[in-house]
Symmetry: C2
Subunit: 484 residues, 2 copies
């Protein structure tokens, strides 16, 4: 049992590594990242797979390198992505899941987890989405959940496509805003609808879909003899954190008989807070919703749900009657099997992580984490409003988008040349912060607004940041930009 001995040693090492400990300690003792160039990293890691087994010593050495050169995504200064932090309850759930390694497909092999998944999905639907009925499924990421959405909508619009294919049917047309996530584009491609038939709807100055433009585009598609069938509204857009106006979009969907999907992969977590859930008013009118718990709440990948209010639809559009799994003469009620609702066959258990975190913190604890994240974002926003060098793009949700104007550009007129130069600043600062390993903040341009490169700072539930953390970000950016 060499392998189990190895496992025990890895656990000991992980537990003492600080990665799982108090985020404050992690911040004091560790960099966010120890960046090395890809070619250098390849040389440092000795990856060759040999005929002979490696000793546990060798493997442990390798694990040290893996930890050393991996980005510490639980570090308070990892502000780079739509995920962050490490919830201990979640890690326990993840580890237990791996040891009980099974698939969600049938009750027979997954009794606890099929029951738990059904329970949690119902809990979300009844208490947070607000549908009377409905169903859902955990999916390997929000992108796949969004693909479920368009797929189910396609089936509802044209059920015969399942057997006959898209060819003989009117051209389907889907809609998403300029700031919607690119997974909708990928989906239009995969599902055979074509990216040209995904109409991109304008956003307003705060990044929210313009309902009038949706209405107009719908009419236009109809006039062209096409069949509009699907709208993806975004609740918490990837870059700006905007929430599309759900009620107004729901009205238009009703009028034109369109499937109304809400991509709340990023923003769904506001529903956990009584103070902030109003941002998603109208979500109860959606036909389907995507919500990633591996984003704001700090759970590990994957923890993503696809929900629809149309009970039975997932089965109807996915079932393929695999007789080797879903035998009809089982000794228990086959309705507990979930495999026929899925595009996957083996489906890893993702629910235990969420379940343990939710119970361990209680609903109140979850709410507090969300509220605190909003407060810290607000604190940061108020602070940079009055701080030299910070130029705000937009503060929405817990995304704070800003340019950093270095000393050499401060006070300059905003000419095209100024913007060109400013555009080079974020990449330079990013390189510096990454190489020094003190923090990581994402930057990107935004072509829908012709904005050159700006930073997007994201505040999550975990790790729970303090005002001192927020202050540090400001002074650290100033320090890094000193000579720019």
């Amino acid at each position: 049992m060499e392998d189990i001995e190895f496992l025990e040693r890895v656990v000991k090492r992980v537990m003492s590594s600080g990665i799982l400990g108090n985020p404050k300690d992690l911040r004091n003792h560790s960099k966010v990242t120890e960046f090395v160039d890809p070619e250098d990293l390849k040389r440092k890691l000795d990856l060759e797979i040999l005929d002979e087994p490696a000793s546990n010593e060798e493997l442990l050495g390798l694990c040290e390198d893996v930890m050393r050169y991996s980005v510490k995504t639980g570090h308070p200064m990892f502000l780079n992505q739509l995920y962050h932090g490490l919830d201990g309850y979640c890690v326990a759930g993840a580890w237990l899941t791996d040891v009980l390694n099974t698939s969600q497909s049938t009750y027979e092999i997954s009794p606890v987890f099929t029951v738990m998944e059904t329970f949690v999905i119902r809990h979300i639907i009844n208490n947070f989405i607000g549908w009377d009925d409905g169903e859902g499924i955990f999916s390997p990421g929000g992108s796949v959940a969004n693909m479920y959405a368009m797929f189910v909508a396609r089936h509802k619009a044209l059920p015969d496509v399942k057997t006959k294919g898209l060819r003989g049917f009117p051209q389907l047309v889907a809609f998403v805003s300029e700031d919607g996530h690119y997974s909708t584009t990928k989906t239009a491609n995969w599902l055979g609808i074509g990216t040209d038939n995904l109409v991109i709807i304008k956003v307003d100055d705060r990044g929210r879909m313009v309902p009038e433009d949706l209405d107009r585009s719908c009419k236009e598609a109809k006039q062209q003899g096409k069949l509009p069938f699907y709208v993806c509204a975004t609740a918490g857009s990837t870059v700006l954190g905007s929430f599309d106006p759900l009620h107004q979009i729901a009205d238009i969907c009703q009028k034109h008989d369109l499937w109304f999907h809400v991509d709340a992969a990023w923003g769904g977590t506001v529903l956990l807070s009584r103070s902030h859930r109003h941002l998603m008013d109208g979500v109860n009118r959606a036909d389907s919703v995507t919500w990633d718990f591996h984003k704001m709440p700090g759970l590990s990948l994957y923890c993503s749900v696809f929900l629809t209010k149309w009970t039975g639809m997932l089965y109807e559009c996915n079932s393929s009657c695999a007789e080797y799994l879903f035998q009809e003469d089982k000794h228990y009620d086959g309705a507990y099997d979930t495999g026929e609702k899925s595009v996957q066959c083996g489906r890893k258990v993702d629910v235990l992580k969420l379940y343990l975190a939710w119970r361990g913190r209680g609903q109140i604890g979850m709410e507090q984490l969300v509220n605190h994240a909003f407060n810290m974002a607000q604190y940061f926003f108020e602070k940079i409003k009055h701080t030299k060098g910070f130029k705000l793009v937009l503060p929405e949700f817990t995304n704070i988008c800003f340019w950093y104007v270095p000393p050499s550009l401060q006070g300059k007129e905003h000419t095209p040349d100024f913007w060109d130069q400013l555009s080079t600043i974020a990449p330079k600062l990013k390189e510096k912060m990454t190489k020094q390993g003190t923090m990581m903040i994402a930057y990107q341009p935004l072509s829908s607004k012709s904005f050159p490169n700006f930073f997007r700072l994201i505040v999550h539930c975990l790790p729970s940041l303090s005002k001192e953390d927020m202050d540090f970000i400001v002074t650290e950016l100033q320090r890094l930009a000193e000579d720019l």
Copy 2:
């Protein structure tokens, strides 16, 4: 840090639970499953999510129930699925992955794992598939990998479908055998091709695709003005374990200009053994391959690779130029980012599990496990040939398919009535073994051969079974069937 304390206690409990220990001990001390009916289980598990946090005591109690009522998929007598066993190296990799929680999308956030994934995929391609060039991606399961295959093939056949959709193009037609996995049917549905346009090719008496029928069906589709584009051959079929004749299928694909995919989700692992890899002779002629390491080798879900010999294709058909992730002014070479090759956005790291297992056992160790599984399957097969009550369906690969004929039916003539009665035996035996928890073996009918319910016993690399284990299966079946 209540959550970390909880995690520590869960780890202690898991380590002492026997689930991770010596499979022999597990067999002596634990049932495979402690079956309770779904409604009972719901009552036993107190799932309600409350406002207040649960104490760590309560949560630990819940975890006890989770462990108790979950199927022990690492138990030697879990012979039910195409996965089995627990590799300690893999568990270490899984646990480390969860703690370093990140996404494979960019080098920036996943330096070690993007490099490692690329390395492992190249290792597989060069040393086991036999292509000079090629690329691949880890995917959440073999079903999704098979979906990649048809998707990439569709793109190669009709690149403009990406933007224009399928509607204006000739009807695509795909092919798979009667015994191919149902994920190909799901794929034909999802990708908009339609399940009617997935032509089901006959299999021979050993469950292998009949090349002549493929050739004929291709011609027929062409005569109907359709566009045949894709063949999915199966290497290790789900039920019978058959290997389609790859060389002959490759010839036909060449002749008709079809994409040649090999679904080796189950059977790919034979490539690890010099004695058995001949079963997949011709795989080097494939355009793409699916291989699940979470099946035979005993790694936890997901550990599935999609491979294609067409370097650049994954990017070409998936890229959507998300400017917030794949900025062009990065301070390192963006070619190391893998996100644009994927249908997913956040993509969990699956490679570390495989990597550690492969290094920890060495290539020789992996090969020995495969050979041993074959040997045990062979032993079992020889044994039941001479044992009253066992009636063989087919022994292919490490799938052994058989009917168990109980005392009351032994020696009877094989009339339709005999078959009808025999068909009820497997479900009854399955219920008994599940309720007593002594073992789990899957049963299913096979409509392609009009076979009534029979058992499919699967031998995997892990846990490594002994002759005594195989003997136990025989006597246990006899015991369970005594009064039938």
